[in-house]
């Protein structure tokens, strides 16, 4: 983890796969997600218009295809902003429709049964 101060979010046992928790750390609203046992933290402010990104729906999306075909995937790994619906990869923060745009992410670790984020 980086040199930033670390903060306890909650006990790891209290954030189950598929769940999220929004916490306030050093004045910032941050969403912490459990995706299949891996933890990720994203700033709860959409890079598009500052909407409450981490309050949006989590689910899957259509995978890249050719010729008007549909394939659903990434279930549980995609966060859609609560305001305008922009899709973000929870693990990387990257906007799916525009590689030039990313949501801010924070390092996460689990130590002594607690989830820690560096902010």
């Amino acid at each position: 983890m980086g040199g930033e101060p670390r903060h306890v979010v909650c006990a790891a046992a209290d954030l189950r796969p598929g769940e999220r928790r929004i916490v306030r750390v050093r004045g910032r609203s941050i969403g912490v997600f459990n995706v299949d046992g891996h933890y990720y933290a994203l700033q709860n402010g959409c890079p598009h218009r500052g909407g409450p990104l981490c309050e949006g729906r989590v689910g899957g999306t259509t995978l890249p295809t050719r010729d008007q075909a549909f394939a659903y995937g990434q279930d549980g790994r995609i966060l859609r902003c609560a305001w305008h619906g922009w899709e973000f990869d929870i693990a990387t923060g990257r906007a799916l429709a525009d590689p030039a745009v990313s949501a801010r992410t924070y390092p996460v670790a689990v130590e002594d049964g607690n989830i820690l984020i560096s902010v």
Binding site: H48, T61, T62, L63, P64, T65, R66, D67, Q68, A69, F70, A71, H84, G85, W86, E87, A95, L96, A97, D98
Partner: protein
């Protein structure tokens, strides 16, 4: 300078008779016509220009239809303004899209194409033709594109903006496939606002001619959105779509909206890999006429610059029609001028290469 919209007319639609196959020659000789002997079979738009839609001074000295006399076209346009290449778009031929019978419509389009190749292209090395097809018959249109699209004097495939559905619809895939095979752009020119085609405005029919004409952008906007969203430019990476006579000032607003909505709802069209505005800049071209006329002339350009229109706009005069744009009236920023008046069209239509092909006598 390249003029991307020059209307060459016939004096009478009877000029097509020798070029029509016997079945449909009989239709044209004996059949019902919208304007009497010599008129062209189509379902004319219900908005009638109260002064007719031709420049009054464009009637040739010995009479006949405006645009029907090559020498007078040279005097009034090609020589007068130093046009290097004129893209001919015919006069009423694209109106075949309004006919219910797709077989008759395609036969008329074929006759126009053979007439144009035989009677117009040999007149002047500066002329390039448009291959008109009836889009309501995509397979017949594809056959026609393969039949004649390889001719060195053909610059593009041409349809009307009036259509039964927007041009990205997979219904039209045979047309895009054939265009890709022969390496021609697909162009849509304002028209086809009647007959079996959709109403040109979404809220119901306007009333007056000028009111309708001011809304000519609306079908163009629909085709731009459709070709991008349906993935035409992913399926045929060499495809180019040209909008003729739909104006240009609306383009930034539309592309900004498409980019914004695509970012939110990308999942509807997972075959796309880039932002809509990026596809547009690489694959879509617009003729400048009728250029919008802001109160301050220079107010037109900043928004267009924002979406890269310097790569997308191509000068057109629309000679000999009433809303003609004189080349001097089109004043893009100095840094764009060569591209808009010449370079963009030269690149799109590969005019250098075709010039060499013509010189070889092909």
């Amino acid at each position: 300078m390249i003029d991307c919209d020059v209307h060459n007319a016939w004096r009478s639609a009877d000029e097509l008779l020798p070029y029509l196959e016997p079945t449909f020659r009989e239709y044209l000789e004996r059949g019902e016509l919208p304007g009497g002997r010599g008129s062209f079979p189509h379902a004319h738009r219900p908005w009638l220009h109260p002064e007719d839609f031709k420049r009054v001074d464009a009637v040739p000295p010995d009479g006949g239809a405006a645009g029907s006399d090559h020498a007078f076209m040279c005097e009034q346009l090609l020589d007068r303004y130093g046009i290097d290449v004129a893209i001919l778009t015919g006069e009423e031929a694209i109106e075949v899209s309004t006919l219910a019978n797709p077989h008759y419509a395609q036969a008329l389009a074929r006759a126009h194409n053979d007439w144009m190749v035989a009677e117009w292209l040999p007149l002047d090395r500066r002329l390039r033709g448009s291959l008109v097809v009836a889009p309501q018959d995509p397979r017949g249109a594809a056959d026609e594109i393969r039949r004649l699209g390889g001719h060195a004097g053909i610059a593009q495939v041409l349809v009307s903006t009036g259509a039964q559905r927007p041009y990205g619809d997979p219904f039209y895939d045979p047309i895009w496939e054939a265009c890709a095979e022969v390496g021609l752009p697909l162009a849509a020119h304002l028209g086809g606002q009647g007959g079996v085609n959709a109403n040109p405005t979404g809220c119901g029919p306007p009333t007056f001619f000028w009111e309708t004409h001011a809304l000519l952008c609306e079908t163009g906007m629909g085709h731009v959105a459709s070709t991008i969203a349906q993935g035409v430019f992913e399926r045929w990476p060499g495809a180019r779509f040209v909008l003729i006579e739909c104006g240009v000032a609306w383009l930034p607003a539309l592309l900004w909206r498409l980019d914004a909505d695509y970012r939110a709802l990308r999942k509807e069209t997972p075959w796309l890999k880039r932002l809509p505005s990026e596809y547009a800049r690489d694959h879509i071209r617009l003729s400048t006429q009728p250029l919008e006329q802001p109160r301050r002339r220079e107010a037109l350009w900043p928004a267009l610059e924002d979406i890269g229109a310097q790569d997308m706009l191509m000068f057109a005069s629309d000679y000999p029609h009433w809303d003609f744009d004189e080349p001097r009236a089109v004043r893009p920023p100095a840094a764009w001028r060569d591209a808009v008046m010449d370079g963009n069209a030269r690149a799109l239509y590969r005019l250098g290469a075709r010039e060499e092909a013509m010189a070889d006598g092909r």
